[in-house]
């Protein structure tokens, strides 16, 4: 009897298969998944619109409505547009990352993920592909949103501010994509998409989004102080309001890294449960 090429310990195919399953990332497979994710955007350009239109309306609308709030001492700037621009950028990254979970839910419903899991690509490879594609996809709405903001008077950041903006936005999109993948693997349906988008949006809004911590109501301040998005938001905000400091920057990176790590572990566990 011939040994099974996948399950036999003597088989090099099986060894390779298990090596990948243990979490070693298969770069060509990651690249293929990233290209697939980007192709979706090229084939359906309208999919980029939610990442631009909603945050743009939010940015312009909030500035028109609450623009005079900066007359209250504590904002550190007279420009509410500058204060709220990082919120809109995170919102755009969140929507784009959340779309990854929606697409994964669709892939589960259509059986595509089942076929993908039959391939030698391991869970880590699949997750890396999904998350990286989200991080790259956000580079489409990001410039559009920045152009709109600069056109209506937002301050143009320094070179380091630009770089940090890109890094924070892509990293937040990746974190949001990981979180939405956790939910997609849990509920195994696109119908979980309102839950994905609303939890991401809430995490952004229940931070120091509209006002600095010192001006928030006590209950809101308590939530915002424990919300890691506040640190990420303040990391981005320093690019547009005040000056960039190492302390605020590394706090933002630590918050991104910490939440990202937790969500990655949850997503890998979700993949494990899905396979069982």
């Amino acid at each position: 009897m011939q040994p099974d090429p996948v399950t036999s310990p003597a088989s090099s195919g099986a060894i390779e298969h298990r090596r990948m399953r243990r979490g070693v990332v298969d770069l060509p497979a990651v690249r293929a998944l990233v290209v697939r994710g980007l192709n979706e955007l090229l084939r359906v350009p309208g999919a980029a619109i939610p990442g631009i239109v909603s945050p743009a309306i939010f940015l312009l609308g909030l500035t028109l409505v609450f623009g005079k709030a900066t007359q209250i001492p504590g904002y550190g700037t007279q420009s509410f547009l500058a204060f709220v621009l990082p919120v809109a950028l995170l919102q755009s990254a969140g929507f784009t990352g959340g779309a990854t979970g929606v697409n994964l839910g669709r892939d589960i419903e259509q059986g595509w993920l089942d076929r993908l899991l039959l391939s030698p690509a391991g869970r880590g490879t699949i997750l890396t592909g999904l998350v990286l594609s989200a991080a790259l996809r956000v580079l489409i709405p990001l410039p559009a949103l920045l152009i709109i903001a600069f056109a209506v008077g937002a301050p143009i950041p320094s070179f380091i501010g630009f770089v940090l903006t890109i890094v924070f936005v892509t990293a937040f999109a990746a974190v949001a994509a990981t979180w939405s993948s956790v939910l997609a693997l849990k509920f195994r349906s696109q119908q979980a998409s309102p839950l994905m988008q609303s939890t991401i949006l809430s995490s952004i809004l229940f931070s120091a989004s509209y006002a600095p911590l010192s001006l928030l109501q006590p209950w809101m301040k308590a939530i915002a102080e424990h919300n890691p998005v506040t640190l990420i938001l303040e990391g981005m905000r320093q690019c547009y309001v005040g000056s960039i400091t190492w302390e605020v920057t590394w706090h933002a990176f630590a918050a991104l890294g910490g939440t990202g790590l937790v969500f990655v572990l949850l997503a890998l566990r979700g993949f494990g449960r899905y396979e069982r």
Binding site: V53, G61, T63, V65, G67, K68, P194
Partner: protein, 256 residues
Amino acid sequence: MIAPSLALGLRAIRLTLRRPQFLIPLFLMPSIFLAVNTGGLAATTRLPGFPPTTNFLSFQLPAAMVQSLMLSGLQAGIAVALEIESGFFDRLITAPVPRLAIVAGRLIAAAALGAIQVAFFVVGGLLFGAQIAGGILGVLLVIVLGSLAATAFAAIGMAIAFRARQASVVQGMFPFVFAVLYLSSAFFPRKLLSSPADSISALNPLSYIADGLRTPIAFGLHGAPIVEGFAVTFGVIAVASLLAVAGLRWRLADAA
């Protein structure tokens, strides 16, 4: 005319209640924005020119109400578009049902749902510390005005749906709900809005509806804003209903 309208209205209400998951956005999203606005921007009551109020939640409550009612109007439009897509509308027009009852039935359902939405925010607001300055009569006025506003927004949603015929197109109007909201005094006093929102909001009927809802809640039973709120709401109902009926006639001519 009345019996078929009521029957179609009851059908629309039953369909809405059978799918409660579609009701969640009507309550959840405005509640989230209400909480965030109240928790984040209460200090703005210190701005010079802000109307004297000690309760920012009471001030913001009407913003959540109109947001919820507008989303409900959009959902009414989506429901009509889905009926057109699924072929139910074509079967309906072959039945011996007065044409106007198709519009009226949906508006009756919107009015009933609108009253529930407004009551939800009144009760929720009271639980979290809002005060209704106008007392019981103020609550009744707010529920009646909210119900009428829901009718107006549903008529707008229907007018769009009859023209668009596709639920996805009506769904695509979602960002415009927020654009209209931001260009009104729903969230903030008109004279404290930045230019050009301060000028545009004076022409935006939503400002008067929101102020009509806000006055009994935050300031008491002061006549002028409440009367203006009712007058503008009736005006929007009249214009939007005419547009909805025109859209229905256009749809019937297209189907013939």
